[in-house]
């Protein structure tokens, strides 16, 4: 794997994990209402 590929995979992971967490926090926040 080239350095570029490793960087792109890391970026995708970072992007998916952080946005996944953000969406999770929001879902938790809205679902907790009931």
């Amino acid at each position: 794997m080239t350095q570029d590929t490793i960087r792109n995979i890391s970026l995708w992971l970072f992007f998916l994990v952080v946005n996944g967490l953000i969406v999770g926090i929001l879902i938790q926040s809205f679902l907790y209402a009931d």
């Binding site: 960087r7 792109n8 970026l11 970072f14 992007f15 994990v17 952080v18 946005n19 967490l21 953000i22 969406v23 999770g24 926090i25 929001l26 938790q28 926040s29 809205f30 907790y32 209402a33």
Partner: protein, 305 residues
């Protein structure tokens, strides 16, 4: 927030309880409700100084004030209707202390820094970041959040006398972007930005991201902010729009997901400059929207002259 208040026939407060609230659980944890309610129990309503009761409980969150105001409202109503005792509540003065002064100074220094040479600007920037981290972060835990913006968007404007800091922060943020085209809040005043800056200084790396990833992250952030604000407004629950991990860092309170989010952001901050600010912070979307308004207004004014 709906609060039930009980008063004994003899005039003592029997208790109070929050029956319904629209805060996120994490924010609600920050409210000093049990302590406050316990402190009123057994006291006769005509011996309570309600002004100092509200002032005593008011902290960084709007909810503390809402809780105290609800209890006072309940007790005074029962006192008037059932006991024919009318308790006067004096007007509250504007709250202005070290916190509010610090906000004004931070904005003023941020503004002045624009006109100074680079080396001096850097020194001022580090200074403002230390002050912001300590005072706005760890001391007051009051950075601007999406919940606060959504609260104002919902048409609810908290009492300015007890929320001077809130209006200073949001006013400073908005006006500096609209009139100067510069976001002084994010650069100098935001404590979470400061925290990432310090972590990055420890890591010593400043990796650049490819354009495609920056675009993707910006578009995703805008979409998330839009959906969160729309859902919160639709449910008339502005506090639920927030997803920032600020409270986890500054008040050490948060859900598991917020702790994990905070940890990841701080670790990544070692390698990338202020990753939260650049790619995930909802204030960035607000900044872009305000810059857009500025650009369109400038264009409109120029084309009319």
């Amino acid at each position: 927030m709906l609060v039930a208040v009980g008063i004994q026939p003899t005039g003592e407060v029997a208790g109070a309880s929050v029956v319904e609230h629209k805060e996120t659980p994490m924010f609600f944890q920050l409210i000093k409700a049990p302590d406050y309610i316990a402190s009123l129990k057994g006291r006769s309503f005509d011996t309570i100084d309600f002004r100092s009761e509200i002032d005593g409980v008011t902290g960084a969150t709007l909810s503390n004030e809402a809780l105290a105001a609800s209890v006072v409202n309940g007790v005074t109503t029962i006192a008037a209707e059932q006991f024919d005792v009318h308790i006067p509540i004096p007007d509250r003065p504007f709250e202005f202390g070290i916190f509010e002064l610090a906000i004004i100074l931070l904005f003023a220094v941020g503004l002045a820094a624009r006109y100074l040479r680079q080396s001096l600007r850097e020194v001022l920037r580090w200074t403002t970041q230390v002050v912001a981290l300590l005072i706005i972060g760890f001391w007051e835990n009051s950075p601007i959040t999406l919940a606060k913006i959504t609260t104002l968007l919902s048409g609810y404007f908290p009492d300015p006398r007890s929320n001077v800091a809130l209006y200073l922060l949001i006013g400073g943020f908005t006006l500096s972007i609209l009139f100067l085209g510069k976001d002084i809040y994010c650069l100098h005043v935001c404590p979470f930005g400061a925290a990432q800056r310090f972590v990055n200084a420890i890591g010593g790396k400043r990796l650049g991201l490819p354009l495609w990833s920056v675009r993707l992250m910006n578009q995703t952030r805008n979409l998330i902010v839009l959906v969160a604000v729309a859902a919160a407004l639709a449910r008339v629950e502005p506090a639920r729009a927030s997803y920032e991990p600020f409270a986890a860092l500054f008040a050490l309170k948060g859900t598991m997901l917020q702790w994990v989010l905070l940890l990841i952001i701080l670790i990544v901050s070692l390698f990338i400059r202020r990753p939260w600010c650049h790619y995930f912070c909802p204030m960035r979307s607000c900044e872009r929207a305000l810059l857009d308004v500025r650009q369109k207004s400038t264009h409109l004014i120029r084309s009319n002259t």
